[in-house]
Amino acid sequence: MPLSELNPPTPKWGIRFDRPNLKTGLPLQPLMPAGQYIVPLVQKDGSAAEPLLAPGATVLKGQPLVALPTGDQGAAIHAPTSGRVSAIEQHSVPGSGMQRCIFIEADGADQAWSGITPVRNPLDDSPASLLDAIAAAGIVGLGGAMFPTATKLDPGSRIHTLVLNGVECEPRINCDDGLIRDRAGEILAGGQIMLHILGAERCIVAVKADTEVAIECLRAALAELNDARFTLALVPPVYPAGGERQLLQILTGQEIPAGGLPRDIGCICQNVATASAVQRFMHTGEPLTSRIVTITGSGVANAINVEARLGTPIRQLIEFAGGYTTDAVQLIMGGPMMGLPIADDSAPLTKATNCIYVHAQQESAPPSAELACIRCGDCATVCPVALAPQLLLNAQRGDDFEALQDLGLADCIECGCCDYVCPSNIELTSRFRRAKHAEREIEFERLRAATAEERFVARTKRLEREADERRAQSEATDAAGNQAEALQRLLERIAKNDDRQKRE
């Protein structure tokens, strides 16, 4: 059977970087599980899961550390290796600030917990039980979104297309490339399980058109799989084609409605690493305790892909890559376009960390002075959501929130393309990020004022009503001439009123 392949057109937006990619190669084998692991308890929605264990307890690799969260945004968390819980305290977590973390001192034995059994034939199993298994395995979107996979695979509406996203969103991030080259078959098998759960008809495996080796690996794996539902899509290597919304636009020609989700156009995107984790769990019963991460950038000795246990301190990963260069100045979680600054390299590797990027002095753009915008419009040409950053900038400078809203500030994905092309060195993305924050604050203030007004009006009405009642009642009691009873009632009312005020 001939392989079905797609060559979607190059989008009008985006950037083709002319900086050569650093060779990272196949994922290097796991770092030895020695030393200290730091497992954050923070969930996708910012809440912290409750630990099941107290300091001093011994744990085995893969043992659940928290009760299975019930919320849509929660995911199970497992011990990355065997050892002893040494502490549960606050520590810095990349992208989440200070968070409660479980510290585990590894015993070096890496002994596995036997509490989870593999799912022998997932394709014969019911979708509901597979979803439960995926939730128990703690699998979340490994592209960086960290959205619980079981929740995403249960969209509640008909899905026709599953997209396995292997188009790394940012330049220099190669962890998916490394994974595809190493485990293409595992990814496709995971895709089959997801298709089964979703009841979807087809699966598009999307990779960057310039990753020749990965493409060959996928072609071979697809030929072996021989499943007519699968299509290989070679996506033009344009940044940010790997973003979910942008990728779906390239593949289907359709846009996800503003405020909507891919399921609104019958699609679901899953990262290739997520598919691989699903298959791995079904096959071996191994929950999500490691991931492949790219260590790269001009501030680190070697660019590598490494499969590392979650909770490994970033410093150890850097050392594994040969250490910092002498001119390393900035540590970033994610890529050079959208990554988050990390203040402290003792922070752990999380499920969301696809890349650790170290910036060296000479590559890190000197803070050259911003010049005036000359309205060249290059920013609008590259914007993947078709905003006009040059006009947003004007509105932002004037704190004109109405104009910012009209111009679609909320639709900005903060990809940084506008910054990259701006000849005047204007930090557009930063400004838009700040404007979004300010806008949220203003909205919050507005809501608060509205609620306060509502409460005030209600209170005034209530006081008036009570005054009326009092007057009517005192007239009635005066008529009855029963002073003692009136006094009694008055006291009761005062007590009741006090009580109510206290409750409020």
């Binding site: 060249c376 078709a386 092309v421």
Partner: protein, 339 residues
């Protein structure tokens, strides 16, 4: 180890305003050289003077406004203004007329509005229009075809030496657009106007070369992606269509489209003036409308107006429409309904 906490994105491209401006200056070289070859070395003298005036005024204005003067004055934008003024005024224009044009361009049109990036009107065109309406007799000193004055003679004119009208008549002549306008007013037909091989015909051939050189520089800028195609394409298409329609209606009293497109400042305007990003519309559809508007106004002014070439006025009029164009030509944002 302490790490920086700067925000994403961490990479920046290599584009810069001064690189863009310098590319534009470079792209003006062909039209400058061809003009010097055809119209004499006076234009080079004017260009040097205008550039000196513009850069000096830019530095002065920046200094008065308390901005870093030197680096910004050399960003290349003042040079473009100088070169455009030198190309717009005749090569024999007295130095002080050029200086007035530069003063109005840099100080009034540019810095009183806030400097680079904030000017509503194209500075060079403001400067040119001020001297065009103020000193019409000096702005008519175009050398006659095939008699480009030498450097010494040009310097005498530029130095402001007084000339008797006989000398002036001998050495200067109307530009093709001007002579066509005058002769049409004298009820002559286009065929008659172009009959004399040493008159309008010859002058038109010269101006075709100048326009071709501007076109070449403009195409290079397009290729380098310093400018984008929307404005020049819309402007030239609109003008071409209007010339075609009028020519088809009555070829005896209307220019052929080629004459209209390759005369006066058409190509210079399309690629170097209308494309000034600061004073042009900034959305794609806005730029198409902006270019089309300039093309149409230019045609209208040439045909019915008092001036032979309406380009500068057309650009300034469309500059005023820019906020409106930007407002109503926003692209449809991803994920939002069509319409």
């Amino acid at each position: 180890m302490m790490f920086l906490s700067r925000d994403a994105p961490y990479w920046r491209g290599a584009d810069s305003v001064s690189k863009m401006m310098m590319s534009v200056n470079l792209a003006l070289l062909p039209v400058m050289l061809v003009s010097a070859w055809i119209l004499g070395l006076g234009i080079i003298v004017n260009a040097v003077l205008a550039c000196l005036f513009c850069v000096a005024l830019e530095a002065l204005a920046l200094r008065l406004r308390g901005r870093p003067a030197l680096a910004s004055a050399l960003d290349g934008s003042a040079l473009i203004t100088g070169l455009l003024i030198a190309l717009a005024v005749p090569p024999l224009t007295p130095w002080w007329v050029t200086a007035v044009a530069c003063l109005f361009a840099i100080v009034f049109a540019k810095h009183l509005y806030g400097g680079l990036g904030y000017n509503v009107f194209n500075p060079a065109m403001v400067g040119y229009v001020v001297v065009l309406v103020s000193f019409p007799q000096h702005i008519a000193l175009w050398p006659a075809p095939n008699s480009a004055p030498g450097l010494v003679e040009a310097l005498q004119f530029i130095g402001g030496g007084a000339f008797d009208s006989a000398t002036v008549d001998a050495i200067t002549a109307a530009t093709p657009l001007d002579s066509i306008k005058i002769q049409l007013g004298q009820m002559r037909t286009m065929r008659e106007i172009f009959a004399d091989p040493t008159g309008t015909q010859l002058a038109y051939r010269d101006w075709t070369w100048i326009n071709a050189a501007a076109l070449a520089g403009g195409l290079w800028l397009l290729r380098k992606k310093v400018i984008r195609w929307h404005i020049p394409a819309a402007m030239l298409t609109t003008m071409g269509l209007l010339y075609m329609i009028s020519y088809a209606a009555d070829s005896a009293v209307h220019m052929a489209p080629t004459v209209g497109l390759f005369s006066g400042g058409t190509m210079l305007g399309a690629f170097f003036v209308a494309t000034d990003p600061v004073s042009a519309a900034t959305t794609e559809r806005g730029r198409l409308l902006y270019g089309a508007g300039i093309g149409m106004l230019c045609f209208v002014i040439r045909k019915w107006g008092a001036y032979p070439d309406g380009l500068a006025f057309a650009v300034l009029l469309m500059n005023m429409a820019v906020p409106l164009l930007d407002r109503y030509t926003q692209p449809r944002i991803y994920g939002h309904g069509r319409g």
